[in-house]
Amino acid sequence: MAHVEGQQHPLGVYIKVWAWLFVLSTGSYLVDFYHVQGYPRWTLIIIFMLAKAGLIIAVFMHIKWERMALSFAILIPPSLLLVFIAIMTIESDYTFLTRGIFFGSGS
């Protein structure tokens, strides 16, 4: 009995994504190699990171071909992490300022 539930796709799309992952990784390495600093560094690193993560999740992990009921169940809960990140950014800024006041070298 053949399985209707498998994820079978032509090899070409995997090879293309694979090549892109190498290109994007090289890109993020070169950002460091050429000492790109400040906002350009951040923009490039985040873009390369998100592109890589997106390709891996969409193609290698087959989310692109799954039913929405599954992809929503997987992709929506982690968006809560953005709230967590925001909270901890505020908290750590506060800690930093407090440390500056109490332990700082006269700042």
């Binding site: 079978q8 190699f33 993560a53 999740i57 290698f60 087959h62 929405m68 009921a69 599954l70 997987i74």
Partner: protein, 241 residues
């Protein structure tokens, strides 16, 4: 969408609703939510979702200590530089590790693909190659740990700057390395079963007593790609920041 029939909730493989209506229909249906997904794969996804929160907590903890410390953070580009006789090349070991892991993701995809074609030999070979690349990755990580420990990096202090650097480094890369190591064992187990023909004969599993089939290769693949995915974030936030 469909004209309402009394048995509309009984899903047939052929008549699943597309798009958002499909989300509502799938979640509102009885029997199972994740249509067309084997139970093992759905469970792996649930596990990976929980693992996402674990690694995210580590990375957010890292962000918090790094933003709040008043001591300068060590420069990862210099700490992880490696010299091959000449000038030290920044971050070179980490770059090689990244490429090794991406390569192993590629061979894993090939294993999944040949698994669904029921090509026993190729599936097993690609699984073994993936396991070897994973072992190579862990080996390089062990080298990196040794190097840093020799340079005096400890979970509570280090000579380069903020003390939290050591704790974050050992915690995050250690947890990731553990995941890779478990993945290597998992890969070897699945490769052995593929090679033995367990999935062709639907041999029952030792622990589960369930019939085995090639879907486990895809489930295994999900875990492996997830490990690669976590490394993408560690690479960006810990090594490139």
């Amino acid at each position: 969408m469909a004209p309402s029939e009394s048995d509309a909730s009984v899903a047939q493989p052929g008549d699943l609703a597309p798009g958002l209506a499909g989300v509502a229909a799938d979640w509102g249906s009885d029997q199972r939510t994740f249509k067309n997904v084997p139970w093992g794969k759905a469970m792996m996804w649930i596990f990976l979702l929980s693992d996402t929160f674990i690694f995210s907590s580590f990375l957010i903890g890292y962000m918090t200590v790094r933003l709040s410390t008043t001591v300068p953070w060590p420069n990862a580009s210099e700490v992880f530089a490696l010299s091959f006789g000449g000038d030290p090349i920044p971050l070179i070991l980490i770059a090689i590790m990244t490429f090794v892991l991406i390569t192993s993701s590629g061979t894993m995809v090939l294993a999944v693909n040949y698994g669904y074609r029921k090509d026993k030999a190729k599936t097993a070979i690609y699984l073994v190659i993936t396991a070897l690349l994973g072992a190579l990755f862990v080996g390089m990580q062990a080298f990196e740990w040794t190097k840093l420990i020799e340079e005096g990096v400890r979970p509570w202090s280090n000579p380069m700057g903020a003390a939290q650097f050591g704790s974050v480094f050992f915690m995050v890369t250690g947890f990731h390395g553990t995941h890779v190591s478990i993945g290597v064992l998992f890969l070897i187990l699945v490769a052995r079963k593929v090679w033995r023909g367990d999935y062709d004969t639907e041999k029952r599993g030792y622990f589960t007593s369930r019939k085995g089939n090639y879907e486990i290769v895809e489930t295994m693949g999900l875990y492996w790609h997830f490990v690669d995915l976590v490394w993408v974030f560690i690479f960006a936030f810990f090594y490139l920041w």
